[in-house]
């Protein structure tokens, strides 16, 4: 996204001073190319390395060459049962991660939108107070309250379930804050027009507020999906069953398991393939929602 904005700033032509303009363009592109190179290079290196055998990787480290093992490594990463109990495959981990990512993002959006709706539109006695209480939870991230959270989830019998994985994470002060600010910028007359048009609180929320917020929803969805996808600490704590592993924590697990093929070597090829797979969904989400994001920004007016 940063690359795109920079590129669009660099494009407008200044026809009269064409020479200087060309130099600045060269300079801009040099910066862009360097940045892109630094970002893509490690990924490329990993991709090439997945074509080697584990033994090769242990001996020579990451390498640029190309051997015939790439397909086999990806296939093993995706479909071969792994772990101590042989209960998990790459596809299963991918699915777990997707459930966590979507559940996390959608849950956060639903909860924070409803909270913001209540705070902004209803004459609650302590609305402002409630908002600041919610806001101060920013000071209490999961890491601080990890023991009580674990205790609560455990005693509810939600350990090793998707609900246990997602629910403790979906309360979001940031989301509530962004939606609150957005709702406050919606003109009061729109609310009044809807009241006269006979739209009750629920209809107003669904028919008017949600469609108007689609830009915000897309933006928060991107951020929250990636955030949820990258969760490591909480899934590590709450899921002991290997069938519940997410990609992000599963990769490490696989490296720890030693290769079965003769020598006792960690399965680096498979791990690298998995880490590449783990990158794809967040990238797709960003690319997909980016077009929405821009569309929402340019088309909607309040």
């Amino acid at each position: 996204m940063t690359d795109m904005t920079q590129a669009s700033i660099a494009t407008p032509a200044r026809p009269r001073r064409s020479k200087r303009f060309r130099w600045s363009q060269v300079f801009d592109h040099a910066i862009l190319c360097t940045g892109a190179f630094f970002m893509v290079f490690p990924v490329f290196l990993v991709l090439m390395t997945t074509s080697f055998e584990d033994a090769d990787i242990v001996r020579n480290g990451l390498q640029f060459g190309f051997e015939g093992q790439m397909l086999e490594n990806f296939e093993a990463a995706m479909f071969e049962a792994a772990g101590f109990s042989k209960a998990i495959t790459g596809t299963r981990m991918l699915m777990n991660s997707l459930i966590l990512g979507f559940g996390f993002a959608i849950g956060k959006i639903v909860i924070s939108m409803m909270a913001a709706y209540a705070i902004v539109y209803f004459r609650l006695r302590f609305a402002t107070f409630a908002f600041w209480i919610i806001f101060t939870t920013l000071l209490l991230p999961l890491e601080v309250r990890i023991l009580p959270s674990y205790e609560a989830i455990q005693s509810l019998g939600l350990a090793n379930t998707y609900s246990g994985l997602i629910i403790p994470l979906i309360a979001s002060a940031t989301g509530t804050f962004f939606f609150r600010q957005f709702f406050r910028s919606i003109p009061e007359e729109l609310v009044e027009a809807a009241r006269i048009d006979g739209a009750g609180p629920i209809k107003f929320f669904i028919d008017i507020l949600v469609p108007l917020s689609r830009t915000m929803i897309a933006a928060i969805f991107i951020i929250m999906f990636v955030y949820g996808w990258n969760q490591y600490l909480w899934p590590t704590l709450i899921t002991t069953d290997e069938g519940m592993f997410t990609l992000v924590r599963g990769i490490k697990q696989i490296v720890q398991v030693l290769s079965q093929t003769g020598a006792m070597i960690p399965e680096y090829g498979k791990a690298l393939a998995l880490s590449l797979i783990a990158m794809i969904p967040p990238v797709l989400i960003v690319i997909f929602f980016q077009s929405w994001f821009v569309k929402g920004l340019t088309e909607s007016d309040k």
Binding site: L190, E192, A193, D197, G198, I208
Partner: protein, 349 residues
Amino acid sequence: MAQVTLDRVRKTYPNGFEAVQPCSVEIPDGELVVLVGPSGCGKSTLLRMIAGLEDITDGALSIGTDVVNDKDPADRNIAMVFQNYALYPHMSVAKNMGYGLKNRGASKAEIDAKVQEAARILNLGDYLDRRPSQLSGGQRQRVAMGRAIVRDPELFLFDEPLSNLDAKLRNQMRIEIRALQQRLGVTSVYVTHDQVEAMTMADRIIVLNAGRVEQIGTPTEIYERPASTFVAGFMGAPPMNLMTAALVSGQLQVGGETKLPLTPPAVATDEVLVGYRPEDVRLGGDGSVVLDVQIIEELGANRLLHGQLGGQAFSISIGKDEQAQVGPQPITLPQDRVHFFHPERGTRL
């Protein structure tokens, strides 16, 4: 269609500010009443109380035969046009107009028919699939009107609907709204701060000042017989001239020397406020009253002469064919066009 009755309707905010003092008025069926006044006079508050968007502190409001104080806006069978139109930005024109009907459980065919009919009346037929952001200001205004008329309400409420339009469009829409209201025969309450809109559109005008009703009357009554100096100054452009005149032995005097050839009203005060509409004063005369003209404003259809009469500001309006120069000019003050007001209370004498 319904008549609207306000019986000592009052609004006091929790902080003690009295936005609208007790106001009683009866609006007969089909009448267009304009609430006019400067910013902060309580005209919008009064309208919003009629709409149900603001609680009524005291008094009774009836639409038709029912007292509707405690009814929801949606149940009052009203429609409102807002200053910024308040169209739903994400809905097409047709959906915007049909939303109220949809919420009332009308069938799709019925909504379609009514929206089509409204679009035909308002010349919006080609725009039904567009979004509000793709329309011009005047078109958005029409959509807002359309949203009001599809519902067949008993009462239209307009909250400064034309103030976001440019001058030319405003004149045009003013006539359109008036024509539409007369054709549909729906009782209407129209809020504006523009006295031209008030004069041209109203069957009756309610002039508000600082939460108080100053005068209720037809445009002609308001203009010809303003009940107070506030009404006199607010309605009419340029505003009415108001001079403080001393009553010296049955003679009105301005600035100590100029005697006004007028019969004074029978009052016990030694001063009165003398009011004249600029167009009621004629240029020329016997020289007993002289206006010291300082500035001449050319308006095309007429000219405004601004100057001093007995040391007080005074303006007159003359036809485009009359000649005028800067400097002292004799003027005539006709007895039958004078307005007298109480010097302290500002009420008409």
